[in-house]
């Protein structure tokens, strides 16, 4: 009985950490920078492929790749925001118009990134094996790499949480999330902060992709979209802008996915969708917001 | 006849109480003023009447029927129309089409094309927008945008019209014109409830006034009575 419970609990948590991380990233982009980034999954995919390339091409262990991927993808996101979204913000007639325009712009990004990836890496699915040995925990068996990704995602999430709470930049971000105009009046350089948020969002996505690639799943240039959906659902579950909520939401979704897959493989996305629909109709602000 | 009645109406937003146990009635054909300091709950009350918000407790009755749980479009079709504090006109739509929209959807007995056009033109003349009938809503000056909101509301042949701060942002000349318009509407037989901060308008147009503060009715009476009411003076007129 306990074994079964632990098996399910831990099995569910494993993906949950990654789900949470990508949700935090998405939440930063939509909640603060007000960009509904449909291309979020593409950054996840890029993170996964970069890790694959570094591992199979240069033998860099995935965990060390974090040192490269984190700053690289942060910069990628920051620059993208400055080039594409800041001018769009200035030219949009209203915040609502900006939300619509930025979503469409991210749509264009999706096309560009997905097809660039297809050109660079080609269509055959890829994967690699790293730390794929089994670990036994109270009678249940798990793959070591999954446990490592769980720990890594919790560490990364916590680090970011501390960053938001204690640094000046973190406080500026929280101010901008509450009220961008007031924040600007108080001296926060709002365009810079929004670009930073977007950059952090893409960084989280890429790190999520990096961790995903470690779990021995098959990588393909079109894999991103389902993770965008998962990020959206977790954000709606956990509340926009709520990091702890994203983790709770991520674990819940991970658990549901694990349970549904054990019972009826192929229906996990359907289950997520039903949850999504239920949430949107009943409590769109999230289960965990006050 | 009491065209509008509110009984023990309450509305809360999280911990904040916007309206608390309010009772009031409006006589058909009256022009009722609704005043009170900012945040008193006046617009919230209009939202409860028009169906934009649902009351937590209490009942709203319009022409004798309970409309508390009805959606805005149903309430509008029954003959209760309103304007908004922040003017909600359609910036890309021509003036004429605003009135046409109100005419076609705001009533249960829209007529044939010829009759429709005649009525639309009559309403445009009535509010004074005939000269800009083809202009887009967004191209009008504020005073005309407010006229447009009124025209759109009147197109549905309402029995009750709720005006939310019609005079806000208008010049003194425009305020005088607005006051004339309100009186004209009243003479057509439409009952009016108006939220206003422009005291001159309220005092001269309204037959009765209700004063709200923090979601409670603190006074009710004729303009003269209100002007002399000590509580009101303390809370509001003294500002």
């Amino acid at each position: 009985m306990l074994v079964k419970f632990l098996d399910i609990a831990i099995g569910g948590l494993l993906m949950g950490g990654i789900y949470a991380l990508i949700a935090v990233g998405f939440g930063l982009q939509y909640g603060v920078a007000r960009v509904l980034n449909i291309a979020h999954g593409e950054f996840i995919m890029l993170g996964a492929f970069c890790t694959w390339t570094l591992f199979t091409g240069a033998g860099v262990t995935p965990l060390f790749s974090i040192l490269f991927c984190a700053p690289f993808f942060f910069a990628f996101g920051f620059v993208t925001y400055r080039i594409l979204f800041t001018p769009l913000r200035r030219s949009s007639e209203s915040p609502a118009a900006f939300e619509g325009n930025s979503m469409l712009a991210s749509f264009g990004l999706l096309f560009v990134i997905q097809n660039l990836a297809s050109i660079i890496w080609g269509t055959p699915v890829r994967g690699y094996s790293y730390l794929a040995f089994p670990i036994h925990l109270s009678g249940a068996v798990f793959s070591a790499n999954r446990i490592v990704t769980l720990i890594a995602s919790i560490l990364l999430g916590s680090a970011f949480y501390v960053f938001l709470l204690s640094t000046r930049t973190g406080k500026a971000i929280r101010a901008a999330a509450q009220d961008p105009d007031a924040a600007e009046l108080m001296g926060v350089r709002i365009h810079r902060v929004l670009a930073l948020c977007f950059g952090f969002g893409t960084m989280m996505a890429a790190l999520g992709g990096l961790l995903l690639s470690m779990t021995s799943i098959m990588l393909s240039p079109v894999m991103g979209m389902q993770y965008t959906l998962i990020a959206i659902i977790v954000v709606v579950l956990g509340g926009l802008g709520n990091i702890k909520g994203c983790f709770v939401g991520g674990f819940i979704l991970g658990l549901v996915g694990y349970l549904v897959t054990s019972a009826q493989p192929g229906l996990s996305m359907v289950a997520y969708y039903v949850i999504f629909l239920f949430l949107l109709l009943v409590r769109p602000t999230g289960l965990l917001t006050k | 006849m009491k065209i509008l009645e509110a009984e023990r109406l309450s509305k809360h937003f999280g911990g904040l109480t916007a309206i608390s146990g309010l009772n009031m009635e409006v006589e058909q054909g009256a022009i009722l003023g609704l005043i009170g300091p900012n945040g008193a709950g006046k617009t919230t009350l209009f939202n409860l009447f028009s169906g934009a918000l649902r009351a937590d407790t209490g009942v709203v009755r319009f022409k004798g029927h309970d409309i508390t749980r009805l959606k805005p479009h149903r309430i509008a079709r029954r003959g209760l129309a309103r304007t908004f504090q922040s003017v909600k006109i359609f910036s890309r739509m021509p003036v004429m089409d605003h009135v046409r929209l109100g005419y076609l959807f705001g009533r249960l007995d829209a007529g044939e094309k010829g009759e429709a056009d005649r009525e639309i033109n009559e309403i445009l003349e009535f509010v004074g927008l005939a000269s800009v009938r083809d202009s887009r809503g967004g191209d009008l000056i504020l005073a005309n945008q407010k006229r447009l909101e009124v025209a759109r509301a009147l197109a549905g042949r309402p029995d009750l019209l709720l005006l939310d701060e019609l005079m806000a942002g208008l010049t003194p000349t425009e305020i005088a014109e607005a006051m004339e318009l309100v009186k004209k509407i009243g003479r057509r037989g439409v009952t009016i409830v108006m939220i206003e901060h422009v005291m001159k308008a309220i005092m001269s147009i309204c037959g009765r006034i209700i004063v709200l503060d923090h979601g409670l009715k603190i006074a009710e009476g004729t303009p003269e009575e209100i002007a002399q009411d000590k509580t009101v003076i303390e809370v509001y007129l003294g500002e």
């Binding site: 509904l36 449909i38 594409l84 001018p87 769009l88 030219s91 939300e99 619509g100 979503m103 469409l104 712009a105 749509f107 264009g108 990004l109 096309f111 560009v112 990134i113 997905q114 097809n115 660039l116 050109i119 979209m225 389902q226 965008t228 959906l229 959206i232 709606v236 009826q264 192929g266 229906l267 996305m269 359907v270 969708y273 999504f276 629909l277 949107l280 109709l281 769109p284 | 028009s50 959606k71 805005p72 479009h73 509008a76 079709r77 129309a81 908004f84 909600k88 006109i89 359609f90 910036s91 890309r92 739509m93 089409d97 046409r100 929209l101 109100g102 076609l104 959807f105 759109r152 549905g156």
Partner: protein, 313 residues
């Protein structure tokens, strides 16, 4: 105020175009017929998308789900019913699906609606796949192929239908309500418009044509399975084409769809991923610099001509 002559000009152009199209298989190669059928498919999808998403501003990414539903109806009935009935059946199935989805999700804010439709295709694909695997036991179905010319004519008919319906809606009270909803749902509701009903019905009407095209086009494929039927590209392309072309006047989505499908035709064999990349770049440029698409540029130029007629004297 348009003069009488001007009002009839588009109709004359339309009838001429129609005559050309109908006579086409008589004097053009079958390659041209197939190419035109493809273009018509995209034009129909884009026009249908614009019927709902144009005036309301609700970006729907559900088109592929409705197209795919039509494809599946075709798979079920192509051997027993004639083409026109199959097409209508596909349309009807999508109409019902859209009514269901719409009634549930159209009460949501625009962004949530878009997010939900983004995954709808995946949802339907996964559900159909699971159903086929576990309940009917056949993943993948054979479709009785139809003649290329028959498919072409079917698409022409659907195209004409969409045009007529689109034009009718724009000039009807429904169109007025849609415009109002697009600008302020609250004001529209208070003017007596049943916002949810209007949105849902229009959404369903747009889905009908997508389903009908799906049912028709599938007869070129002979074999379908959930993955080929519910292909997210059919959700993305109409959005791209409508944003590029514009959504105000009737010609705009048609122009956008024609340009993009011609581009696709020319580039797809030699540079398969590059053309999609190009589309993405075009999308970015359009959003950034010409948010009302080609139509915006054309209309601005037209208005300038109107306001400052050539300095004659």
């Amino acid at each position: 105020m348009k003069t009488r002559a001007k009002t009839y000009r588009p109709f004359i152009a339309a009838i001429t175009l129609l005559a050309l199209l109908v006579g086409l298989p008589g004097y053009m190669s079958s390659y041209t017929v197939i190419l035109l059928t493809n273009i018509l498919m995209y034009v129909v999808l884009t026009l249908s998308w614009t019927i709902f998403s144009g005036p309301t501003g609700y970006i729907s990414l559900a088109s592929a789900a409705f197209f795919g539903a039509g494809v599946y109806v075709s798979a079920l009935f192509s051997s027993s019913l004639p083409l026109p009935l199959v097409a209508m059946g596909g349309g009807a199935a999508s109409f019902i699906l859209a009514l269901l989805v719409g009634s549930l999700t159209l009460r949501l804010k625009g962004m949530y609606f878009t997010m939900f439709t983004f995954g709808l295709v995946e949802l339907v694909r996964n559900s159909v796949h699971w159903w086929e695997v576990n309940i009917t036991g056949t993943v993948g179905r054979i479709i009785l192929a139809a003649d290329n010319t028959a498919i072409f004519y079917s698409m022409v008919a659907i195209f004409v239908a969409v045009l007529v319906v689109s034009h009718w809606i724009t000039h009807s009270r429904l169109g007025l309500a849609l415009q109002a909803i697009g600008e302020s749902e609250e004001a529209a509701a208070h003017s007596g418009v049943n916002v949810t009903k209007v949105k849902t019905v229009t959404f369903a009407v747009s889905a009908f044509f997508m389903g009908a095209s799906g049912a028709t086009m599938s007869m070129r494929w002979t074999y379908i399975d959930p993955t080929t039927a519910f292909n997210i590209q059919f959700s993305f392309m109409p959005v791209l084409m409508a944003i590029f072309g514009g959504t105000g006047h009737l010609y705009a989505p048609i122009a956008g769809a024609t340009v993009f499908s011609l581009l696709e035709e020319v580039l797809t064999t030699k540079f398969p991923y590059y053309y999609m990349l190009l589309f993405g770049l075009i999308m970015l440029v359009v959003i950034r610099f010409m948010p009302h698409g080609l139509e915006g540029v054309i209309e601005t130029w037209r208005n300038r001509e109107k306001r400052e007629p050539s300095e004659a004297a």
